[in-house]
Every structure is written in structure tokens, then in C-alpha cells.
Amino acid sequence: MLRRALGLLPRPIAAARARSFSTDLPAAHTADATFMEAWNKVMPNMDPPKTPLSFMHPRPPTPSSIPPKLTVNFVLPYASELSTKEVDMVIVPATTGQMGFLPGHVATIAELKPGVLSVHEGSETTKYFVSSGFVFIHANSFADIIAVEAVPLDRIDANLVQKGLADFTQKLSSATTELEKAEAQIGIDVHSALNSALTG
């Protein structure tokens, strides 16, 4: 009985190792065969409806050699700033510090703090100030940057930034509850990031 149990044990482990992770599998792009058959039987003259999966472009597979460019999708809730733009490098303000991503970077998820995002393409750099968001780098050198608010640096008013910094520093010293202190601290963080974006 024990020997049979031992015989059963390695099998599930081997099966688990053989199954690949869902992120490595290419998205199945083909229509479901049984559905097509059933549709053709009932409605042979009409095209079958498209499913959401057929509208979605499957993520390109990870190439075997490092691609020459990073493909960036930079989106905001109300607009798509950059859409599959090929660039050389992006530097993002992650909570752990400024992170630079080159093509071939390991897959990463990073949370952003208020700071400057710069996109480097050839000899030109485009800078945006992002309020907060996330960056997802995939193994195939695609980068998805999502931010709630992102503005080019020349749209920021330096006087309002200084005023805001002074206001919130004063609010921090007069804050009583934890929540007020946190809000004042956030204000200070954002305004000092805006300040260093304008001067740096």
C-alpha cells in the first residue's frame, strides 16, 4: 500500500512542472470548433459573430534575442498618450526610485510615485510629470505605463507649485488627525516632486 502511494506521489508534481504558466502561452486566436459547427448547421449563410478574444491582439511572444526597441503604451484615463511607440528607453519614477527600462528588461511591475517620466527615442527625450500610476514591463519588451494624470513639464505653473508647497507645509504643522497629517504629507510630496521636476 505504501509503495503504491509512493508511486502516485511524483506524478502530480511532474504534471505540474510540465504545465506552463498562463503568461507564457500565446493567446488562443482561433474560433471554437464546436461553436463554428453548431453555427454553420443553424445559419449556414451568415458569418458567425466575433468573440471578444478575436478582437484582442494577442501579446507578441517573447523573442529569442533581445529586440532593438522597447514598445511603449502610455495611457491615461481620458486619453492614450503613446500607443505602441517604439523607443530606446524609458525612465519612470517608481516608489523605489528612478528606474530605467531598456529593451530586454526582465518582466517587472512597478508602482509610480509623483515624478518625472522620460521617454528616450534616438536623441530626443519627452518628459511628463505623472501624478501616480503603475508600469508593467513584459518579457517581450512591451511596456504599459498607466497614470491617472500626466502633463508635459511646460504646462506646470511654478508659482502655484511654490504656493502649494508653502500651504501644505503649514497644514502639516497644524494637522491633528492621522488623516489630515497624511493628506498634508501627500501635498508636500507632490509639490516637492513638481518643484524638482521644474528645476531639475
Binding site: 509623483p114 501616480s132 494624470e149 504646462r155 506646470i156 502655484l160 492621522e178
Partner: protein, 70 residues
């Protein structure tokens, strides 16, 4: 494993990530130069009507258009 990891100060104060993110976005919008500032603030305006229900019947709805501050 990392259940005692240092939480960000805003979460320790009881704020959620979404609230934090929205506050940051509002602060950035308030620091914009003129045509962009009014454009951004008007983009984020919400208009909604609230009607309270008492005894299973709705009362007259009130229209609110709160500016995006909380």
C-alpha cells in the same frame, strides 16, 4: 511572509490607494498653467443626482455637481 512589511504612510492613516492616487492627481491638476488647468478641472467634474428613499418611496432627487475634491 511579509505581513509586517512597512506600509506606506497613507495606508497607515487609513487611506486607500485610490484616494491617495486621486488626491495626487487633483494636486497636480491644480498646479497647471491657465488654459490647461480649466480644461483639466472641467474634464473631471461630476454631475449626479441623489434621491433618498424613506418608507419605500423615493423623495425628490437633488442634483449635485461636486467638484472633484473628495
Amino acid at each position: 511572509m511579509a505581513s509586517n512589511a512597512a506600509v506606506p504612510f497613507w495606508r497607515a492613516a487609513g487611506m486607500t490607494y485610490i484616494t491617495y492616487s486621486n488626491i495626487c492627481a487633483n494636486l497636480v491638476r491644480n498646479c497647471l498653467k491657465e488654459p490647461y488647468k480649466t480644461e483639466a478641472l472641467s474634464r473631471e467634474k461630476v454631475h449626479f443626482s441623489i434621491s433618498k428613499w424613506t418608507d419605500g418611496k423615493p423623495e425628490k432627487p437633488t442634483l449635485r455637481s461636486d467638484s472633484p475634491e473628495e
